[in-house]
């Protein structure tokens, strides 16, 4: 769907070349929600804007839906952009226009839509984002979450098959963030839209993304299914994101001095999350366990859990327990043997 071939970007600042994106290959699949996570300056915003060429690449090829976007002339680029919707951190709505006028704008600009057609489409979109009563209001009269809903409706107006989300929930409170993410997931599911989003919040990735790329210093350092990348994290940047989002179970080595036996981190994914695996293994092998830290949550629609446990028992019991846990589909990391 979206294909990057050795795409790179450098900015020229006062005669000096500042690299923002190192040569990157990337493939985003049709219909997936693809997330890019990174700290500010990691190059994620540049990468996102290269997709619809709001940023011009310094080199490489971008192919989207079989169209070589990097080869388009100004006219071609404009009509291509109508097949790609975009929403923004600060919504970027026109303050001088009503909600309905904002949503109608992409269609007006594209031309070829009658005003009755446009009005009908605007009504449909308002229903989809749940803002039917607010059509005649101005953006300044709306809350942040409502503004982003208008942004989403506007991005969908020309019926795009790709939606780019630029830190779309970073200016929203946690509850509103959850609602907006739910709306995005709905759109992805019902309209089959491919979504590329960038964020610095782990939670956004965990809630809606199918696959994730972790960016650092203009490079995608890790890429894969969300569960594979984060359970357990490998790259230092990934680890730092996971730790930031899990400060509640951040346990120090000193705490562990007090416990007996070996310490392992168990990662449950999917059905094993709710299965009584740990208890059964303990019973069958005769090992004792104590839970040091843990959390149960979801990655998109998939339940997942992570427990840090101390196992105490004989050498052979511990070995049997590990084997049985792995056999039950639990990923096991030994933290202290």
């Amino acid at each position: 769907m979206i294909e990057f071939q050795q795409v790179h970007k450098a900015y020229t600042v006062q005669g000096r070349q500042i690299p923002a994106l190192q040569p990157t290959d990337l493939h985003v699949r049709r219909g997936e929600v693809f997330g890019l996570i990174g700290h500010s300056g990691a190059g994620k915003s540049t990468l996102l804007r290269l997709i619809n060429r709001l940023e011009e690449p310094s080199g490489g090829r971008i192919i989207i839906n079989g169209i070589e976007v990097t080869a388009l002339d100004a006219n071609g680029l404009r009509s291509f952009r109508r097949s790609v919707g975009m929403i923004f951190q600060h919504f970027n709505l026109l303050a001088s226009k009503t909600v309905a006028e904002n949503i109608a704008m992409p269609m007006k600009l594209a031309g070829g839509h009658g005003s009755a057609d446009i009005a009908q489409r605007v009504r449909e979109l308002l229903v989809r984002v749940g803002l039917s009563e607010h059509a005649q209001k101005y953006p300044a009269q709306l809350s942040g979450g409502q503004k982003q809903r208008v942004g989403i409706a506007r991005a969908l107006a020309t019926g795009p098959d790709i939606l780019l989300c630029d830190e779309a929930t970073s200016a929203l409170d946690p509850q509103t963030t959850a609602q907006v993410l739910q709306l995005l997931a709905e759109i992805n599911r019902e309209l089959g839209l491919t979504i590329v989003l960038i964020t610095h919040e782990m939670d956004v990735i965990r809630r809606v993304c199918d696959r994730v790329g972790v960016m650092d210093g203009g490079v995608i350092v890790e890429l894969g299914d969300v569960a594979d990348v984060f359970l357990p994290p490998q790259h230092p940047t990934t680890i730092s994101f996971v730790q930031e989002s899990e400060d509640d179970d951040f346990v120090t080595d000193e705490d562990w001095q007090q416990v007996q036996g070996s310490i392992v981190r168990l990662t449950f994914l999917g059905e094993s999350t709710y299965a009584p695996v740990l208890g059964r293994v303990a019973r069958e092998t005769g090992i004792d366990y104590s839970i040091l830290a843990g959390r149960i949550g979801r990655i998109k629609d998939q339940p997942c859990g992570q427990l840090t446990v101390a196992l105490s028992g004989s050498e052979s019991q511990a070995l049997a327990a590990r084997e049985q846990l792995q056999a039950a589909g639990v990923t096991l990391e030994v933290i202290r043997a």
Partner: protein, 221 residues
């Protein structure tokens, strides 16, 4: 009471007021017609904007600055041959409008440029992402978003033009300023001076109030 205003010919005052309003209206119209595109051009050529071009921006900026740094009273005199060429006379309302326009246009264009710079870059980016042409970006996003600022700029320019019309009286433009200079100053008719000053003051007040109201109306806040 009547003894106080002994020198006043109210018909004369009425004619002068009408001249001032004509000069103001005519010059404001042309100032906006010329200054708005000039301001948009200045904005677009500016650093990191859509048509960013360092050389062209510097050149245009220089012209605008030179015209702005010329005292209006000097511009009035320097412009006389050009004015005669355009309107056939350097006197009266018609003779005053070209120097007024040339004096106010660079000023107005700068104010427009500033108003456009106040528009959030993100909005331009959003409209670009919809596949808008540069013309569409200007008409459908930049100008509507900057409208309150542009209206404020028109108001300030109109008030500046009121004071310019008074100066134009010196070179025979007519109007309230001309009256104040010829009668109030040169013939020591203080009552004429007072009446013209009050009328100019009222005119400026009305312009400012009108402008402020329009700004509030279009601010959508």
């Amino acid at each position: 009471m009547s003894a106080m205003f002994v020198n006043i010919d109210w018909y004369e005052i009425w004619l002068a007021t009408l001249d001032t309003l004509l000069m103001l209206g005519g010059s404001l119209l042309f100032t906006v017609l010329l200054g708005l595109p000039l301001g948009v051009l200045l904005f677009l050529l500016g650093p990191r904007q859509l048509f960013a071009h360092r050389g062209a921006y510097a050149a245009l900026s220089l012209v605008v600055n030179v015209l702005r740094s010329l005292p209006f009273i000097i511009l009035l005199i320097v412009m006389i041959p050009f004015t005669v060429l355009v309107t056939g006379t350097s006197l009266g309302v018609a003779g005053a409008i070209p120097p007024l326009v040339v004096g106010a246009t660079p000023f107005f264009a700068r104010l427009v440029e500033t108003a456009l710079r106040e528009v959030d870059r993100g909005i331009i980016e959003a409209v670009q992402s919809m596949g808008a042409t540069t013309g569409q970006i200007i008409w459908n996003a930049l100008l509507p978003e900057a409208r309150p600022g542009i209206i404020a700029a028109v108001t300030v320019t109109a008030i500046t033009l009121v004071s310019y019309t008074a100066m134009a009286g010196v070179v025979g433009a007519g109007g309230l300023g001309d009256l104040a200079i010829r009668f109030g100053y040169q013939r020591f008719q203080t009552d004429v001076m007072v009446v013209t000053v009050v009328l100019l003051l009222v005119l400026v007040q009305i312009l400012q109030m009108l402008g402020d109201r329009l700004v509030v109306h279009f601010s959508r806040k």
